[in-house]
Amino acid sequence: MKNPLLPLRSLHPTIKVPRRRYAALSSGVLGKLNVPTDYSASSYLAHTSSQTYRLHTDLPEQIRSSKTKRTNYFTAVNDALRTILTTDDKSLIFGEDVSFGGVFRCTSNLTDSFGSSRIFNTPLSEQGIIGFAIGLSASGYTALPEIQFADYLFPAFDQLHNEASKMRYRSGGAEIFNAGRMVVRMPTSAVGHGGLYHSQSPEGFFLGMQGITVVIPRSPVQAKGLLIAAARGEDPVVIMEPKTLYRAAVEEVPLEEYELPIGKAEVLQAGTDVTLVTYGTMVYVAESAARAAKERLGVSVEVIDLRTVRPWDKETITKSVNKTGRCVVVHEASRTGGVGESLAGEVQERCFLRLEAPVTRVTGWDTPMPLAFEGFMVPDVVRVLDGIKRTMEY
C-alpha cells in the first residue's frame, strides 16, 4: 500500500527518529478489539459529579458547584431546549413530529410547558422548514428547527446553502437580515441498521457552505452546553447529534444552564506519540484504540474531539501535532469529501517540518451506507489501531 515513489520528505534532513516495528496485533491473550462500545465504562463520559467538572474542562467557573443529574443524550438536548425557551421568549421549535416529542424524544414535554404556538409540527417539507426558519431569524426570532434525520436534509439544501449561509454576506452585514438566529438540529451517523438513508454522515457537504457553523457534540454534557451556546450565537449553526448516542451515552449533567465554546476542539486525553483527531460517536472508538495502542504498542495517543467540524480549531490541532509529529484522523463519513481531507490538508501545511509520517485517515469507504455491511463501513477499533500503527511505523 505504500507509495512506490520516494517520499519527498526524505530529501529533507529531518531529525532522525528510531523506527519501531510492531508485531502483528492479533487478539491472542489480550482479547478481541472489535467489541461493542461499553459506554458505561467510557472514561470520556462523566459517571460522577466530580468527573463532570474534571472531564469537561471548559465548563464555566460559575456553575462548577452546580448539582448534576444522570442524564442521557436526548434528555440533555431536551434540557438545553427548555433552557433556551425559558430564557429567550422569541425562540421556537418546529419540524416533523416535534409536538409529541419527536421520533427521538428530544422535544418531549415542551408543548405542555411552552404552548403550541412555540412548539409545533410542520407539514412534511424540509425545504419549507428551513426556509421558514430563515424568515423567522431574519425577523428577529430564534428558530430551532429539527430535521428528522440528517439523511433528509437534502430537500432543504437550497435554503441552507444559497440562503442561510450567504444572507449576512449578501445583506451587507445587516443587523436583522441574516440567518444568525437559526440552529438546525438533526440526528446523524450510523446506528448499525439504518442502511442507505438512516445512517449517513453528511457533514462533509457543509464544508462548502461558507457562513454555516457545524457542531457534532459527543456527549450529554457537551450537547447541552453547545446547543445553548449555538442558540445564543449570532451565526447559523447546524448541530448534528449522533443518534446512536441518544440513549447510549449517559452522564452526570449540571442542572444549571451553561454554554460550551463553539469553534474549539477539546483534548480528551493527552499523549506524546501521535495525535488522533475525531468527533461524534468515533471518539469512543478512538478511546478504545488509544487504550489498545498503549497496551499493545506502548504508544501514547493524544485524542482530540473536534466538536465543531466547521470551521474547525486549527490552533488546538496544530499545537498537538507539532508536539507529537504524527496525526491520524478518524470519521464515519466517506474518505472523499470529508473532514479528513480538510484536516490532512491543513495539518500538512501547518506542521510539515514536524511531521514524521503522512497524516493517516481512517474513514468510511467511498460508498453509500449499506445495511448488511454497516459494520465494515464504520471505522472500528482494529482499523483505528491499525492506522495508529502504520503512522508510527512509517
Partner: protein, 450 residues
C-alpha cells in the same frame, strides 16, 4: 451601447438564418398541434366579457370583488360501491368482477395482512431489523393493482406490499429482501421493506419521501414517447404530498401530459402528524384539481371501488395521454413502523374504534359471503395455509447467508473506480491481518467474498 446592441442583433440574425436540423423522429407523433396552439398569438376581441390573459384563458370579467373561499366549495365526494356491511350500495351497479378474480384479490389482502403480522412480530423478536405493516390499507394496494396491466410501471412509497403481492412477488422474494440475504435484489444494502422487481416493473423503493413522484412522471413521459400502451402508477402518502417533489411532479405531469396515475394513500397520519396539521383545504384531491389534473376520491376500504376508480383512471391516462390523481381514504390502524409507538400521540380507543368500524378485509369478506362465494370454513383454511407458507419462506430466507462482502463496494459505479479498488484491497488487508477480529461466517463465500 448602440454599437454593441446592433452588432448583437446582426449576430442574432446570422444565427437565426442557420438552418436547424429537423426534429428527431420521436417528436413527430406527439403534439405538433399542441405546440401550434400554444404558440398561436392571443387576441382579445373588443368588448369581450372574458379575459384572454395567457395565464387564465377562460376567466370572465366581473364587477364583483370576491375572494374564492375554499370552505364554500363542496368537498370532493368519496366514491364507493360496497358499504361497511358488505352490501352493494346501488343495486343496479354490482361490481364487475368474477368469482375467481374476487377471490384472488381477497386472498392477496389476507396474505398481506398475515405477512405483516408475522413480520412485525419477528422484528419484535429481533429476527429482522425493521418492518412496516399496511394494516387497513390492503384494499388500496390490492384493489389498484387489480386494475392495472401486468406490465404497467409502478413506483411505490413503502406501504404497498399488497401491490407486489397481487403482481406475483413471491413470499420468498419478500423474505429475501426482509432478511437482506444473498438473494435480495438490492444485495442487502437497503433496510427491510425496500422491495423492487424488474420482472414485475416495480422500481426500487427509496426512503427519502416523495422522490419517486417526479421519477414516475419522467417514466410516464418515456412511455408516451415510446407510444406505449402501458402507463405508470405512483403511490405515496398524504404526508409525502407536502414535499416539493410532489408539487413539481404534478405540475410537470400536467404540463407535459404524462400518462401517469398518482395514487395518494390518505391514512390520516404521517408518523404522529395528523392530516389537520399536514394540510388545509380539501385533502390531496384538491391539489390535483389545482394543477389541472382529473381527480377522484375513493373509499380505500372498499376494494371494489378502488379497483373501479383505478381502471377508469388508467383508461383516461392511456387514451387521453394525461395524468390522473386518485386520493384513496383510509385510516392507519397500525403504528407507523416498528420504531413507533402511536399511543404516544393518539388514543388507543380511537384505533380500536376504527378497527371495529371498518376494515377492507372484513368488508370484502362480508360481500363475498353475501354472494356465497366464500365461507368461514374456507377463511379459516386459507389463513392456516397462508401462515404455513409464510413461515416456510421465512425459515428458508432466515438461514441464507448475507450477500458477499464485495457487495459493499460494487455498483457504486458500473465498474469500480480505482479508488474503490484500492479501498477494497485495504479492507481485505485489514481482515487478513486481524483474522480473529472479523467473523465473515454470516456472509456468502466468507473471506473469499471480498
Amino acid at each position: 451601447m448602440v454599437l454593441l446592441a446592433s452588432s448583437r442583433a446582426s449576430a442574432w440574425a446570422r444565427v437565426s438564418r442557420i438552418r436547424l436540423p429537423p426534429p428527431p423522429n420521436t417528436a413527430r407523433h406527439f403534439a405538433s398541434s399542441v405546440i401550434a396552439r400554444q404558440n398561436a398569438p392571443m387576441k382579445q376581441p373588443p368588448h369581450s366579457n372574458s379575459v384572454l390573459f395567457p395565464g387564465a384563458v377562460n376567466s370572465k370579467f366581473t364587477n364583483e370583488l370576491k375572494f374564492q373561499r375554499p370552505q364554500d366549495l363542496p368537498a370532493i365526494p368519496t366514491y364507493r360501491l360496497i358499504d361497511t356491511h358488505g352490501q352493494v350500495v346501488d343495486k343496479s351497479r354490482e361490481p364487475d368482477v368474477g368469482q375467481e378474480l374476487a377471490l384472488k384479490m381477497y386472498k392477496d389482502m389476507v396474505t398481506t395482512s398475515i405477512m405483516d403480522l408475522l413480520m412485525y412480530e419477528s422484528q419484535r423478536q429481533g429476527r429482522i431489523s425493521f418492518y412496516m405493516v399496511s394494516a387497513g390499507e390492503e384494499g388500496i394496494a390490492v384493489g389498484s393493482a387489480a386494475a392495472l396491466a401486468p406490465d404497467d410501471v409502478i413506483f411505490s412509497q413503502y406501504r404497498e406490499q399488497g401491490v407486489m403481492m397481487y403482481r406475483g412477488f413471491t413470499l420468498d422474494e419478500f423474505m429475501n429482501q426482509l432478511f437482506a440475504n444473498k438473494f435480495d435484489y438490492g444485495k442487502g444494502r437497503n433496510m427491510p421493506i425496500h422491495y423492487m422487481s424488474e420482472r414485475l416493473h416495480m422500481h426500487p423503493i427509496s426512503s427519502p419521501l416523495a422522490t419517486q413522484i417526479p421519477h414516475s412522471v419522467g417514466a410516464a413521459y418515456a412511455l408516451k414517447l415510446d407510444q406505449s400502451s402501458r402507463i405508470v402508477v405512483c403511490f405515496f402518502g398524504e404526508g409525502a404530498a407536502s414535499e416539493g417533489d410532489f408539487h413539481a411532479a404534478l405540475n410537470i405531469a400536467a404540463t407535459r401530459s404524462c400518462p401517469v396515475v398518482f395514487i395518494c394513500r390518505n391514512n390520516g397520519f404521517a408518523i404522529s402528524t395528523p392530516t389537520l396539521e399536514q394540510y388545509k383545504g380539501d385533502g390531496i384531491a384538491s391539489r390535483g384539481v389545482g394543477y389541472g389534473i382529473d381527480t377522484a376520491r375513493v373509499d380505500g376500504n372498499d376494494i371494489m371501488a378502488v379497483r373501479e376508480v383505478t381502471m377508469r383512471a388508467r383508461d383516461i391516462a392511456l387514451k387521453e395521454q394525461k395524468p390522473v390523481l386518485i386520493e384513496a381514504m383510509s385510516y392507519r390502524v397500525s403504528h407507523h413502523s416498528t420504531s413507533d409507538d402511536s399511543f404516544a400521540y393518539r388514543a388507543k380507543i380511537e384505533v380500536e374504534d376504527w378497527k371495529r368500524r371498518d376494515n377492507p378485509i372484513t368488508r370484502m369478506r362480508k360481500w363475498l359471503e353475501s354472494k356465497s362465494w366464500w365461507s368461514s370454513e374456507q377463511d379459516q383454511e386459507l389463513r392456516t395455509q397462508v401462515r404455513k407458507d409464510i413461515l416456510k419462506a421465512f425459515a428458508r430466507a432466515e438461514k441464507e447467508k448475507k450477500p458477499a462482502l464485495e457487495n459493499l463496494f460494487l455498483d457504486v459505479f458500473k465498474i469500480p473506480s480505482r479508488d474503490l479498488e484500492e479501498q477494497m484491497t485495504e479492507l481485505r488487508r485489514v481482515i487478513e491481518e486481524y483474522p480473529d477480529e472479523y467473523d465473515l461466517e454470516a456472509f456468502d463465500r466468507g473471506k473469499e467474498g471480498l
